[in-house]
């Protein structure tokens, strides 16, 4: 190359790089069909119809007029992990293997989360206290089956799935498929969301604070509270010690504000204010390996006592410690564009409200942040959407309706104690979702379709049914240690005299010989026992209301005939009636005194009931949709539209 040419090219280099830096949108030049799927967890068809009628959802009403509005058949059980797995695979639970939030290993009787598991490395190199992984180990998605979008990717149709439930960790993908995992994504500590609450108020300190930890702190007279924030366990060090960072909170009780210092970062907030996302770094191996996380502080109260809440430490989308997106740069791109965001599957801190750490106002301020953030993410994704399938998932409606159903249900035991100012919370949420619908509809043209769908609807949760207590009362289980009946995991049971037990929100299991650790029921007796259970449970009556708490008891082999069941599958599913649900205690194997009691938890709406009681919703611009559509069929419908096949 001659010098002059070389110089010319070199001079152009910055210009070329700058042009590249501006970023070129992904334009495939395809002219095929496009599909936007807005997945709104828990959008109830009856509430939706009512709000549309009241004029609160003008965009959704317009979409309905263009196409159709139907109830959407949900999964059995109608729990989100099960329902979204049905949607993803187009198949029932025996195929994808998700039957509940919680499964159990029959050989050990230990419960485990159904969506994903963390496996330790197969081999490690031990250097003193160091444990360096050599092979194996990682996070595995437990959902099985083939996702419907594989057919699209095979045909070169771009697929963008944002906050996709039951997809953690997401499968490997090239830039034609963009995935950000949603429901099922843990926080950086590996839980489904564990808050930290710093306080010098001893009344707030309890050993029984599920969903988070309460940490006592002290001011030694200089106005400074030293708060230790625990991060994940350090698997690189023998004994897996917990990594932690120190945060200093300087309080000014006169101005009712606190300055939070962490490393170089510093932020000031007043009472009832939130910090922006703060970046936490936990050095696992000095500077060689650092776990990054993000969290936000909330100053609940400063006088007379400090009450400082920290959100669960979320996986940092800009430096993810665990795979939350595929390709791995996708979460970073989204965060650069829309700002940091909640990566945990359940962002709204319902546990903090249930445990009294939050009051209704605190909770709603946090829920509001989540929804605002999700909307920013939605705008970012929508603005870059060009071709193929775009799926975007909203969780706010589900979790907030769970917590505020009591505000619109006069029969709720908590209706009288809920401030009337919250009566419009749910309607407001629906109308905010309607704004997103309107924004998506701006892209409607002759080659673009929109589907607004939900996985299930909602019903009130007024009365708690203690399934395990019922089984014991009816002689299906035997309590040998009554003083342990409130302890989890069947601590009070005599397994040798127990025929059945409940676990999770809808699962009922036979204590089967040869399968369960202490199984006693033979295969020959199993069917008979299940029939007895069905008639006994379906015949149960609530002495207070005279209603039947259980609408249907589904025997799995009858509900899904012809399928081989995995060993973790329940034998029966309890379909609770309108107003009833499994108690929190019974879901983990405790046996409270009463079979049925009032639900005094703010978690006052439910869908973990009989599937015919809480169908989902389907509003779409499509004119030809199946009769009595179900969520399981939606993947095929989307593929048919995008592949331009007959619906």
């Amino acid at each position: 190359m001659k010098r002059r040419e070389f110089l010319k090219k070199a001079a152009l280099t910055p210009a070329a790089l700058a042009a590249l830096s501006a970023g070129c949108g992904k334009t495939t030049g395809q002219s095929g069909k496009r599909m936007i799927v807005l997945a709104v967890d828990g959008m109830d068809p009856n509430l939706l119809a009512s709000f549309m009628e009241r004029g609160l959802m003008p965009n959704t009403s317009r979409l309905k007029e263009m196409g159709s509005f139907n109830k959407l058949g949900t999964s059995n059980p109608p729990q989100s992990p099960v329902a979204w797995s049905n949607f993803i695979t187009g198949a029932p639970p025996p195929v994808h293997g998700i039957f509940d939030f919680i499964h159990r290993d029959p050989a050990t009787m230990r419960p485990f989360l159904s969506i994903s598991e963390v496996s330790p490395p197969d081999s490690t190199l031990n250097l003193g206290k160091l444990r360096l992984p050599l092979s194996g180990g990682g996070v595995n998605l437990l959902r099985r089956g083939t996702p419907f979008w594989n057919a699209l990717l095979e045909k070169g149709i771009p697929v963008t799935m944002v906050k996709l439930p039951v997809d953690f960790p997401p499968p490997p993908s090239d830039s034609n498929g963009l995935f950000l995992s949603g429901l099922g994504t843990p926080d950086v500590r590996g839980s489904q969301g564990s808050f930290t609450f710093f306080t010098d108020d001893p009344r707030s300190i309890s050993d029984n604070t599920g969903g988070g930890v309460v940490i006592p702190v002290r001011d030694y007279g200089d106005g400074c509270y030293t708060c230790r924030v625990d991060g994940p366990e350090n698997s690189l060090i023998e004994g897996n010690p917990t990594m932690s960072v120190e945060v200093k909170a300087w309080v000014d009780r006169e101005s009712k504000a606190v300055r939070i210092d962490m490393g170089d970062a510093s932020v000031v907030i007043g009472e009832k204010q939130w910090t922006p996302w703060m970046h936490f770094s936990f050095p696992a191996l000095g500077p060689l390996s650092t776990v990054h996380a993000i969290g936000r502080f909330y100053l609940k109260e400063i006088t007379p006592k400090l009450k400082l809440y920290l959100t669960p430490l979320n996986i940092d989308p800009e430096n993810p410690a665990l795979p939350i997106s595929s390709p791995d740069w996708y979460s970073r791109d989204l965060a650069e564009d829309a700002g940091p965001f909640y990566t945990q599957g359940f962002p709204e801190d319902t546990k903090a409200l249930s445990r009294g750490i939050f009051d209704d106002d605190d909770y709603l301020s946090q829920a509001d942040l989540v929804l605002e953030e999700r909307m920013s993410l939605f705008h970012s994704v929508l603005s870059k959407y060009r071709e193929g399938l775009m799926f975007f998932y909203f969780t706010s409606l589900d979790l907030n309706v769970h917590m505020f159903y009591r505000s619109m249900d006069p029969a709720s035991p908590l209706y009288g104690t809920t401030d009337p100012k919250f009566a419009g919370v749910i309607a407001d949420l629906y109308s905010r979702i309607d704004i997103a619908v309107g924004e998506a509809m701006e892209l409607l043209d002759d080659r673009t379709e929109i589907i607004l769908l939900s996985d299930h609807g909602f019903a009130p949760f007024r009365r708690s049914f203690n399934l395990n207590t019922f089984l014991a009362a009816e002689g299906f289980a035997d309590i040998s240690s009554p003083y342990e009946r409130n302890n989890d995991m069947y601590a009070c049971l005599d397994w040798s005299k127990t025929g059945a037990y409940g676990l999770g929100l809808n699962g009922l299991y036979i204590n089967q010989a040869g399968r369960e650790k202490n199984g006693v029921v033979t295969l020959a007796d199993k069917r008979n026992l299940m029939e007895n259970l069905k008639s006994s449970l379906e015949g149960a009556v609530d002495p207070l209301t005279g209603e039947k708490p259980i609408k249907n008891l589904f025997i799995l082999e009858d509900t899904y005939p012809g399928y081989a069941m995995p060993p973790w599958a329940p034998d029966m599913l309890v379909g609770y009636a309108h107003g009833y649900r499994a108690s929190w205690e019974t879901t983990l194997g405790a046996f409270p005194e009463d079979v049925i009691s009032d639900n005094m938890d703010p978690w006052s709406g439910t869908h973990c009931i009989s599937p015919d009681v809480c169908p989902g919703s389907l509003v779409t611009s499509l004119k030809n949709i199946p009769v009595n559509p179900t969520l399981t069929e939606m993947g095929s419908l989307i593929n048919a539209v995008l592949l331009e096949e007959d619906v």
Binding site: L7, A18, S21, W250, S255, D264, V267, V268, I269, E336
Partner: protein, 255 residues
């Protein structure tokens, strides 16, 4: 120094900051290679490099004779030390403008402008005592939190949202950010004036009266280049190096 850089960056005022950053980087790269040429013994470097090349070749040619290879290797190591000695003087000379340029670029290109919606936090350190009745509304921007007073350490802190790249709060003698165009200095604090401060920390203004210092936490910028996120220093290092290589070729500089 600030005025010189303002002049140099004038043509880039309306462009994206990356353009100004790359322009200064290119200029710095070429200037530094010219300074290197002027301040180094080019003839000695050239002759030494030839000598080092011949010793390396000799090692390859006499592989069957270990004593010869060892002798050549020893000579090569000695040559390397001599080479480093030749580099020392120009490198020391270049270091001074390098630090000043880096400080100027840090002041202009390292922080996100204080636009509405960008939350920042500032801490004011008072010299003797915290004045009373220092509240009031900022002139530009909005307070996002009450003011926290830490009496023991004579500190006051608060969070704020800037406005059009600025935040000013005259009762505290506070003026942050830059209302200027792309490439202008983003003020992010204050300290007592002095030559070191003016040259090496141009991002700080002069602290006045009872104010000892002001520090703000303003988010750092990452520039998107070729799909990656580059800090301003990486951009500067890469582009000044690239242009230094170009300069070395064009001006026949022996490095």
């Amino acid at each position: 120094m600030n005025t010189l850089f303002d002049l140099l960056l004038k043509p880039f005022q309306s462009l994206h900051p990356l353009w100004g950053l790359m322009w200064i980087s290119a200029l710095a790269g070429v200037m530094m290679i010219l300074v290197f040429k002027k301040t180094s013994n080019q003839q000695a470097i050239s002759s030494l490099r030839r000598k080092m090349g011949s010793r390396a070749l000799g090692m390859l040619l006499f592989l069957e004779s270990p004593p010869t290879v060892l002798k050549l290797a020893f000579n090569l190591i000695v040559d390397n030390f001599i080479y480093l000695w030749h580099l020392l003087k120009p490198m020391l000379i270049i270091t001074i403008p390098f630090i000043i340029i880096a400080a100027q670029l840090d002041a202009r290109y390292s922080r996100v402008p204080l636009n509405a919606g960008n939350l920042s936090t500032v801490t004011v350190l008072w010299e003797n005592s915290i004045p009373e009745n220092e509240t009031g509304e900022p002139e530009t921007g909005t307070l996002a939190s009450p003011i926290v007073t830490i009496a023991d350490s004579l500190e006051q802190s608060f969070s704020f949202y800037g406005e059009n790249g600025l935040f000013s709060y005259s009762s505290m003698g506070l003026k942050l950010g830059s209302a200027g165009s792309s490439g202008s200095i983003q003020i992010r604090g204050a300290e007592k004036s002095g030559l070191i401060q003016a040259l090496l920390r141009p991002w700080n203004s002069n602290a006045e009266g009872e104010v000892l210092s002001i520090h703000s936490h303003i988010e750092e910028i990452n520039y998107v280049i070729l799909g990656g996120r580059w800090g301003w220093f990486t951009v500067f290092l890469v582009f000044s190096s690239l242009w230094a290589i170009v300069g070395a070729v064009v001006f026949k500089v022996k490095v």
